[in-house]
Every structure is written in structure tokens, then in C-alpha cells.
Assembly symmetry: C2
Homo-oligomer: 521 residues x 2
């Protein structure tokens, strides 16, 4: 053991960057393979696999470095916000099922925006009230507010892997849409909270947070939409594919990244910008590319998002054994346990407090909608958002550390609490999701292997034969007719139908896109 640690030490000193990168890449490869082998397993999902492998690697590294350190990389929240988050969010926007997303736009926004506000208030007030009673003090008001946003960002990947998009399209669309909007809202709100003056916290300050939020939301959206449309316009007018498809792919990747980084530079919300950029790129720009570029971009974005996500969960697993932070936190075992339980309780409550009322509201507003959100569906939506993931971790590091390092015991406690809660919710809640969904949505097809075989539903349309337009034109025509008659039945969707007419008449001729008959998904 002595020799290994000596060897590790020597190598680490010589190649500061090379060692952690190669270790991480090797572990990522391992994750890929193990994840694939466990694909048909009923209990485990991608995130759980990555976290568990991260834990094991953490223990191994800990034993090699003689119980000094369990991670190979310092978690730099800049690394996360500059390199890991953009591909994940962009891919979510790029692969979003636009038809379903925009059909349920109002409900999704209610869950994703108003819901987060409710959840943040409950978690903030709840922890501010409970923590001192549990014997944990030392957090400022700003910390409590940050805590609210940190634990309001959900991670719905796990549930999405289990839901069947064809059987329950409304449910799937709501869970997926809320998951994405929720991430954006949490980050925007987190940034808005950073700016307020906590000394005078009253109605005015709350109003100011809301105003800041609206400003960030609208400007970020506009920037993302502009970037997407600009790319579409450039691709359409210059038609890069004529010479080489490499350039058009490179342009799309670079413009997407540029929109994110510009938003960060202008102190807007890059996450919202890149999400809308993704939606508009896949709606317009994507159609102006050659066939092979279309296949490439879809797969490339999915792959980058996949690698970034796995990377983050691996890191969370490794960081769970970061002895330093555990030592630094000076709480007793019982108090720590109390803090964790209080937080999990708040998460459960905060989510219940908006999912059920807002679902009822949505059902009332869309009374013409044939499949309303049943109680069982409401429970699934509530459960789907209980998992906490990458965004929570990143926000916690941003709030409570300076470049991944902290010397304050209270901050260390909050970091370990975040990691514990991400681990607990992902492992325990994630583990229980499949049985719960099977119990709540009892359908013979759920038990078959069919739903297991295609678990990556958000990406499943990539497997469609993208090149065979002849076949899909017919089915799309049918779909178009269906949805037209549906639109006439539902007055709530008039906005959507107006938008579609505007899109077909003005946007598509300028920015590109398929014939309106083919544009249903």
C-alpha cells in the first residue's frame, strides 16, 4: 500500500492535469459499460449506477491516499456552469417534443415557475423555522433563501426513464417539461436571490426578487431565441452543406455555446438562454442542414449531455467520502440527521404544496381536455420531482464554497447535507420509482420488456428513420389532421394555434423548417 501511494504521489506531482483526467475518463468508460449491462435490470438506473461507481472509486482513492482525500478533481463550480451544464440543458431543449411541450405550455409553466416559487418559500421558511430548533444555527437569511432554491431544482431523468411516452403522453410531457423549466427557474431565482439586500426583507424585497426574475427570464429567453433564429438564418442563406457538413455542425455547436456564454457574460441566465436556443435550433436551424448533419447533431448533443450528466453523478458519488468536509462540519450525528430529515420533509411538503393544487387548477382551466390529470398522475408528478441532482450540487457549491473549498463549519455542513440529500433521493426515491409507477399506473404493457428496452424516451425519436421522408409524410399528414380537429375542440389552445399559423406563414419561410404537414413533432 505504501508503494502505491508513493507512486500515486510521484505521478500526481509530475502530471497535474493528466492523472485526474485519465482516471475520470477511465471511470466514465466503466460507468458506460456497467450502465449498459444493468440496462435490463428493473431497479437501477443510470444515475444510481454512476453514483455507486463514484462511491466505490471514492473509497479506493481514499485508501490509496491514506484516508486523506476521496476526489481526484476539485469541484470547481465554474467547471460545472461553463462546461457541464450547457450541453445538458441545450440537449433538453433540442430533443424536447415540441408538439406536446407547447400544447401543455401553460400547465408546464405553472408547475415550473409558480411551483418553484411555492417550493422555495416553503423550504426557506421551513428550514429557517426548524434548523434553530434542531440546534443548527449560523446560517444567514440569504443562506436560507439560497437553500430554498438549491432544494427546489429537481432531477426528473430517473422517472422519465420509467414512464411510457406513448401510453401517458400528457403525464410524460408534464414531467419532462416541468423538469426542464424547473432547472431554469431555480438557477434564475438563485441568481436573483444573490442580488437582494437581506437587511430589509419585506414585501418590497419579495417584489424586487419577482421583478428581477421576470427581467432575467424575458431577456434570457429573447437572447436564446435570437441566437437560434440567427443560426437558422445563417445556415439557410449560406447553405454550408454545399461544401462540407463539418462547418454547419461546427456552427451549430459554437452558436449554441456562444448563446450560453454570452448570457453568462451579460449576467443573464445562460441555462434559460441555451434551452430556448435549443428549441429554436431544432425547430428551424436543424431543418436547414444536410441529412447526415441532422443525424450527427442529434446524436452528438445527446452524447455530450450524457457524458456531462454521468460525470456529475460520478463526482457526487466520490464526494460523499470527502473526509475533510465531514470533519469540518461540527454538528453531532443526531443534529446532522435532524437537519437531513428536516430538509427531506420540506422537499416532500414543498412539492406537494404546489403539485396537487396546480393540477386541480390546470384540470379546471382545461376542462375540455379529454385526459385530465388524474390523482394517480398527480402523485407520479409529485414523486418524479423528489429526486435532487446536478443543479442542486452546483448551486450548493456556488453558495457555500469558494472554488470548491470551504473552511466554515456551517458551509461544510450545508455541502455535506446537499450531497447526502442528492444521494438519498437518487438512491432511495429513485429505487422506489419503478414499483410506485407500476402500482399507480397499472397497465399490462408496463410489465413487458417493451418499456425497458427503450428507456431513453427523450432521445427515442433519434432512432426514427430520419432519412425516409416518404413514409413519415403520410403519418404526419394524419397527425396534422388529428391535431387540427383537436385544436378546434379546445379553446385554451387558441394561442398555440395562432402561433402555428404565424409560424407557417412568416417564420418558416424566413428561417427554414419542414412543410407544415411534417412539423407535428
Amino acid at each position: 500500500m505504501m508503494e502505491i501511494s508513493e507512486f500515486a504521489k510521484n505521478i500526481t506531482q509530475e502530471h497535474t492535469q493528466v492523472v485526474p483526467i485519465s482516471l475520470f475518463v477511465a471511470i466514465l468508460c466503466l460507468c458506460l459499460i456497467v450502465g449498459h449491462l444493468l440496462e435490463e435490470n428493473r431497479w437501477v438506473n443510470e444515475s444510481i449506477t454512476a453514483i455507486l461507481i463514484g462511491c466505490v472509486s471514492g473509497i479506493i482513492i481514499l485508501s490509496i491516499t491514506k484516508w486523506k482525500s476521496s476526489h481526484i478533481l476539485r469541484f470547481d463550480e465554474e467547471l460545472f456552469f461553463i462546461y457541464l451544464l450547457p450541453p445538458i440543458i441545450f440537449n433538453a431543449g433540442f430533443q424536447v417534443k415540441k408538439k406536446q411541450f407547447f400544447h401543455n405550455f401553460l400547465t408546464i409553466m405553472m408547475f415550473g415557475v409558480i411551483g418553484v416559487f411555492i417550493s422555495v418559500s416553503i423550504i426557506t421558511v421551513g428550514s429557517w423555522w426548524l434548523f434553530p430548533k434542531l440546534g443548527f444555527m449560523g446560517l444567514s437569511i440569504r443562506d436560507y433563501l439560497a437553500l430554498g432554491t438549491i432544494f427546489s431544482s429537481t432531477d426528473t431523468v430517473c422517472t422519465l426513464q420509467i414512464l411510457n411516452q406513448d401510453e401517458t403522453p400528457l403525464l410524460y410531457s408534464l414531467v419532462f417539461g416541468e423538469g426542464v423549466v424547473n432547472d431554469a427557474t431555480s438557477v434564475v431565482l438563485f441568481n436573483a436571490v444573490q442580488k437582494i439586500d437581506v437587511r430589509e426583507l419585506n414585501g418590497k424585497a419579495a417584489l424586487r426578487i419577482f421583478r428581477d426574475f421576470l427581467y432575467l427570464f424575458s431577456t434570457s429567453t429573447i437572447l436564446g431565441v435570437t441566437a437560434g433564429l440567427l443560426t437558422a438564418l445563417v445556415l439557410k442563406t449560406l447553405y454550408f452543406g454545399k461544401h462540407s457538413s463539418v462547418r454547419e455542425i461546427a456552427l451549430m455547436v459554437l452558436m449554441a455555446y456562444l448563446s450560453y456564454i454570452l448570457a453568462e457574460l451579460l449576467e443573464l441566465s445562460g441555462i434559460l438562454t441555451v434551452f430556448f436556443c435549443g428549441i429554436f435550433m431544432s425547430h428551424y436551424a436543424w431543418h436547414n442542414m444536410t441529412d447526415s448533419s441532422r443525424i450527427t447533431t442529434r446524436h452528438t448533443f445527446a452524447m455530450m449531455s450524457f457524458i456531462a450528466e454521468t460525470f456529475i453523478f460520478l463526482y457526487v458519488g466520490m464526494d460523499a467520502f470527502d473526509i475533510e468536509k465531514w470533519r469540518m462540519s461540527k454538528l453531532s450525528f443526531v443534529t446532522s440527521l435532524g437537519v437531513y430529515s428536516a430538509l427531506i420533509l420540506m422537499i416532500l411538503l414543498g412539492r406537494a404544496a404546489f403539485v396537487f393544487p396546480l393540477s386541480l387548477l390546470s384540470n379546471y382551466m382545461n376542462s375540455h381536455r379529454s385526459p385530465s390529470i388524474s390523482f394517480n398522475h398527480q402523485v407520479v408528478i409529485w414523486w418524479a420531482g423528489l429526486m435532487r441532482g446536478a443543479v442542486s450540487i452546483a448551486l450548493a457549491f456556488k453558495q457555500f464554497t469558494y472554488s470548491g473549498v470551504t473552511s466554515d463549519p456551517d458551509s461544510a455542513t450545508m455541502i455535506t447535507a446537499t450531497i447526502i440529500i442528492v444521494l438519498f433521493t437518487t438512491l432511495v426515491f429513485g429505487f422506489l420509482t419503478r414499483p410506485l409507477v407500476k402500482y399507480l399506473l397499472p397497465h399490462p404493457q408496463h410489465a413487458t420488456n417493451n418499456s425497458c428496452r427503450e428507456p431513453k424516451s427523450p432521445n427515442e425519436d433519434m432512432n426514427l428513420p430520419l432519412l425516409s421522408f416518404d413514409e413519415s409524410t403520410a403519418t404526419n399528414l394524419l397527425r396534422a389532421k388529428d391535431s387540427l380537429s383537436m385544436l378546434l375542440d379546445r379553446p385554451v389552445y387558441t394561442i398555440h394555434s395562432f402561433w402555428r399559423r404565424f409560424d407557417d406563414t412568416y417564420m418558416r419561410p424566413v428561417f427554414g423548417g419542414p412543410d407544415s404537414n411534417q412539423s407535428q413533432c
Copy 2:
């Protein structure tokens, strides 16, 4: 102007990473668009465009920062060797026309290995003899040796864009193959030179360099081949495509990168490893993927390589106006000019000294080969390797700076000399390449737009209809028959035919690959 510089200063202090990244990404986008618009221009190529845009940006930044600095990023040679070089070299291996490459393997290796040795000796001895006469002293023997390797690595992209692969397949294959092997040899030799003890420089030391070189060459190759075969085996046995094509693409990208970074960790030559990894991945692993993954990997690797290359040339353009380095170098204008001219003379001589003799040798050895290397072809090969590019810059920074910074006037002179020579050879020699090729290879088809329309010849097979196997089977069968009869005519290629038989009988059944009839390119 004052306000802009103040604004720039404020922003830079707040976002240390965000500003340079967003500027660089924006300029990269500009490069892409301008490069596309100039595609049909007869004189300019990609590298020249990027360098010129880099120069303009450099001047603008210089004026904004009040003539203090012209670059936004410090050139860290770790950035280059860890992130930018691997995709370029891997892509070269991945897209290599394996049939032509292995048919001309011996000649390519002669040019790429023996040629570099000859060129290094001439440049080293020449500069060691000339520099003191020009009044420039202060370089150590190790510096002169490094100088030899720095200026022996060529950049053949420019010529490859002009040559027509179908008209002159032998010439194209030699220029492409030499360009790739040459990069690898220069880097390996550079590393070998770093290790020698310069105090006792005699025959023994030269032998030791050669021994080190052989050791690095063989171990690196073995590592690359192993990584490629391992990926093929994993992809074949686990068949990821069953569940999601995202995982197989991710695995290929990660394994390729892992091979590079492992080689660097073991102090081998990552560049050779990743090159052979690319060849073996495209020969075996690529065939074990789903159709859409095949298209995606080809395009993704080409795109990454393209972005990395453009990035480097942009940087070279910007660095040309780095006032600091110019001030630091204390040579007079005349002496500087003398040093530059001497280096260019050495480059011209060093290349001539091996291209012409080795071509004659190759013609003699392959006397049965129907198209021998004519004198005009030899001149084109000589000319194609005169341009200096990214690898030279990176090696120069590695030798003469510490993380991109130098305080030694002699080192600063060598950095500026390298940049001047890269600029001069790329701009002037690159500019003259098209007229020269047209003069030396007069062929009616060269004047048509046909050759301009498809200038990215190394990537052109990406545009082939990869999915339509029916069509290509027929043509490949014909090609296979052709090449079989050709093999019987040429005794020199018996090694190649043995390899093909071994490949068909043992390798392909285990590691995957197409039927031998389809495997001709």
C-alpha cells in the same frame, strides 16, 4: 476609447474565464462563415483565413487594451497537448484512406520517419552553424536540436485541399500519409531530444536518441492498437446499439481520448497512440456500431478536428501582434530578418535533401509500380511539406516558454521566429500552392470548379451514402478484384497481402468489420 478599455477591464476582472471563451467562440463562428464564403476563392484556404482573422482580432484587442496585449488567452501548451492536438490526430487516423495508406506504407514511412531525421539534422546543424555568424548567440545545443524538430513538423492541409485524390491517388496518399507520420515523428523525436545528456554529444548519444525513438514508437503504437481493438471488442460483444446509440458513440470518444491521455501519462507519444487508435477504430470498431452512430462519429471527429485546427491558427494570428514578446527579443531588425531567412532556407534545404533521394529510392524499390513518382510529383511533395503549422507552434512554446510566458530574450526571439515562420510559410507558400500545382500537374480537370467544390478530400468519403450498402457492394467487389490482380503483379506488396489474409481470417471475425469484399477503403 477610454471607456471601452475601462469597460473591458471591469468585465475581465469579474469573469476571468467567461470573457476569453466568449470572444474566442464568437471569432471562431466568424472564421467559419468567412471561410465558407471564401471557399470558392482560388487563393485563400482555411488556415490563411483563420490566421488573417486572428491578426485583425489581435490588432483590435491591442488597440482596446491600449497596446498592452493582443491575446485573450495565454497559450498554455498543456491546453494544446491535452485538448487540441488529440482530436486533430485522431481524426487524421480515423479518416485515413487505409487502402492507399497501407499500399504505400513503406514509402510513407521513409518520408515520414527517415525524412524527418534528415531534415532535423540539416536544420539543427545549419542553424547551429549560421546563427552565430548572423550575430545571434545564446542558444544551447539542446535548443538547436529542439529547433530542428520544431521546424521539421509540416502542415500539409493546405496542399491536400488542392490535390485531386482521384487524378493523382499515389501523390495524394503520399502527401497525406507523410503529413500525419511526420507530425508523430517530430513530437516523438522532440521528446527523445529532451531526455538526452547534451554534455556528451557523440555517436553514442545519437544512437541513444534513435533507441529512445524506436522504443517510444513501438510502445505507443502497441498502446494505440490495443485501445482500438479493445473498443472494437467491447462494442461487438456488448452491442450497445441495442439500447441506445448514445452509449456507443460516447464509448468511442472516451476510449480514443483515454488512449491518448494514458500514453501521455506513461510518457509515451500520445500522438502516435491516438493515430493508430483512430486507424484501428475505423477499421474494426466503427463497423460494430449502428448506422446512425457511424455517420455521427465520422462527422463529430471531423468537426472536433476542424474546430481545434481553426482555434490554433486563430491563436497564431493573434500572437503575431504580441507586443511583449517583440519588445523582449533584443535582436536588431537586420539580425532578426537574417535568422528568419536562415530558418526558411534550412527548411527548404532540409526538405529537398530527403524528398528527392527517397523518391528515387522508392521508385527503384517499386519498379513494378505502374505510376512511379515523377519529378513533378516530387516537387509537389517537397512543396507540400514546406508549410509549418500548429505542431511547430506547440513544440516551440513547450521548449521556449513556461506556461506560455518567457522572460528570456533568446527564448522570446525563438517564439517570435516560430510565429513569423508559420505565418510566412502558411501565407506566402500557401498562397502560391495552387498556381504551382496547376503548373506542375497540368490537367484540364484541375481548372474546373470540380476540384474547388470538394476541397476537403480527407473527409470526402463522409458524403458517401453510408446507408446504401447495396450500391456500394457492387463497386467494392469490382475494386476488390482490381486490387487482387494488382497485388499479384507487385511483389513488394506481399506484406500487405499477407496482412489482408490475416485480417480476413483472424482479426475481422473477432473484432468486427465488413466482409472482405467491402473492405477496400
